[in-house]
């Protein structure tokens, strides 16, 4: 009883100063539409939750990790073998990174197929896709940090891909590598990108992304928005949707723990810049479809280097992907363009097919 009075007093104290009642009123007015595509609303939240896990476990790893070519590998060995629960923290960080990318993929494609990017939510899409690219960048830069053999060559190839871009490629390559070759300087840079620059950019975009959603409310799939939504077909965000969100986060956390404990992340062999690339080398699954494509492209196409063409095509595709809301303007007028669905299905099928090929070939 005394406790309750204390919490009530605390609330009143805060409310006097910050007008919490206004905020609560605002939260109370937020609804989540219920329909047979409502499931997809959860993936944004799951991605956000996994981002939180990344920040927390990342900070913990920072306490022991040493970003230099001579110490990085050994410091992770130390984390995994000597530090109490170090193996768990590192394994969770690696698994969570992968699940986060997967859930971001699902979130992005679900908003694509439901045309959630259409006016007035163009910038929500743009900020989301930019965050997605940054998350891939975080995956790529973080992959190098253990300084193992696979990471070394993945970075060599990945940065060389950037170096293939005509004219600006060479300066970009040197900027990324911190020199001409992948070396300790590259590791320092990637460490800076991974722990400071990329998280700062993601956080900025995330604040915008969430602010846009708060301001505009949640999108309803195209073709469903004119249907009169009865009271019982809307879910109050607070507390109903939030509690479901939290329950799902709890499940995700459990899945993460199971994966991290039963399939601990490998460390591999320490990188040797003067050893051959090992057989069976391949990048992380989320880059595999691009990797496999580069394998298939012939060395010369119309006297141009095949890989340059491949890389430029992926670059153009990436830019078009950011601009989707401005290319499909019909959806803003309520017209569902079938072609956009087919393009989306093609992209998903292409990614899945080439990823599988990457594993079996």
């Amino acid at each position: 009883m005394a406790n309750q009075r204390f919490s009530q007093r605390l609330y009143r104290w805060l409310d006097d100063r910050y007008q919490l009642d206004d905020l609560l009123h605002l939260v109370g007015k937020k609804y989540v539409p219920l329909h047979h595509h409502s499931l997809w609303y959860y993936f944004g939240g799951v991605t956000l939750f996994l981002f939180g896990i990344q920040v927390v476990t990342g900070i913990l790893l920072l306490l022991y990790y040493k970003p230099s070519a001579s110490e990085a590998f050994e410091s992770i060995q130390f984390i995994m073998s000597k530090v109490q629960f170090g193996w768990l923290i590192r394994s969770v960080h690696s698994w969570s990174a992968n699940l986060m990318i997967l859930s971001a993929f699902i979130h992005m494609f679900s908003t694509y197929f439901t045309r959630a990017y259409r006016s007035p939510r163009e910038l929500t899409w743009v900020s989301g896709v930019l965050m997605f690219f940054l998350v891939l960048g975080a995956g790529f830069s973080g992959y190098l940090l253990p300084w193992n053999e696979l990471a070394f060559f993945a970075t060599r190839v990945g940065t060389d891909i950037a170096g293939q871009i005509p004219i600006i490629g060479k300066p970009i390559l040197e900027f990324l590598r911190g020199g001409e070759d992948v070396s300790g300087a590259t590791l320092s840079r990637f460490f800076g990108f991974h722990v400071a620059i990329i998280p700062a950019l993601i956080t900025t975009l995330l604040v915008l992304h969430l602010a846009f959603i708060q301001r505009q409310g949640m999108s309803v799939p195209l073709g469903m928005e004119h249907v009169e939504v009865p009271e019982e077909k809307r879910l109050p965000f607070f507390p109903n949707f939030m509690l479901r969100d939290l329950l799902l986060w709890l499940i995700v956390l459990n899945v993460l723990a199971i994966l991290a404990v039963f399939f601990p992340w490998e460390l591999g062999k320490k990188a040797d810049p003067f050893a051959s690339a090992p057989a069976g080398i391949r990048p992380e699954w989320y880059f595999l479809f691009m990797f496999q494509t580069l394998k298939f492209i012939p060395s010369k196409i119309f006297s141009l280097d095949g890989e340059v063409i491949g890389i430029l095509l992926f670059g153009v595709a990436g830019v078009l992907w950011v601009l989707v809301p401005f290319l499909d303007t019909k959806s803003s007028r309520g017209i569902k363009v079938r072609g956009m669905t087919y393009i989306g299905i093609f992209i998903v099928m292409y990614m899945i097919a080439f990823t599988i090929l990457g594993y079996i070939l």
């Binding site: 190839v157 060389d160 300066p171 040197e174 590598r177 911190g178 051959s276 394998k295 060395s299």
Partner: protein, 150 residues
């Protein structure tokens, strides 16, 4: 005011606008230039290596290869099945992985994207667009040296 010559006040105003805008851009350049210059890695004095000793003839059995350090870059030396030697840069011309010798294929192979080169360094299969740059192999008695081709 269309059709009217600008009054003194307007002239002064647009002059000030350009002055202010110009100074702002100059200020921005002065701030950003050091940042961008900082991001560009300095040239590290690279030791120019023109020749290295890779070992003795007997270290290499026919149909074998080894990646060695040539300055800051990897090089590959191969003893062909007929007993003769060849050496190349070990950096794949596709996307810069380090190649290796495959005795089972009798070829130079890149594990990253399945690129293949013959024993003259010529790209013969897979994505590599150019041949490997060759080095000269010099035998001095029992010792093997590789040098840059002049």
């Amino acid at each position: 005011m269309p059709g009217f010559p600008p009054t003194g006040t307007e002239q002064r105003r647009s002059f000030l606008k350009y002055l202010l805008g110009g100074s702002f851009i100059a200020w921005l350049v002065a701030v950003l230039y050091p940042v961008f210059a900082y991001l560009k890695p300095p040239k590290v004095g690279e030791v120019e290596v023109s020749s290295i000793k890779v070992g003795k003839v007997n270290d290499f059995s026919p149909n074998s290869g080894k990646v060695v350090r040539f300055g800051n870059k990897p090089a590959i030396i191969i003893r062909k099945p007929d007993g003769s030697f060849a050496a190349f840069t070990a950096i794949c011309t596709h996307l810069a992985c380090t190649v290796q010798y495959r005795p089972d294929l009798g070829l130079i192979w890149c594990a990253c994207h399945n690129g293949k080169y013959d024993l003259n360094g010529k790209n013969i299969a897979g994505p590599p667009p150019r041949p490997l740059e060759p080095y000269k192999v010099i035998l001095k008695g029992d010792d093997i040296y590789i040098t840059r081709e002049a």
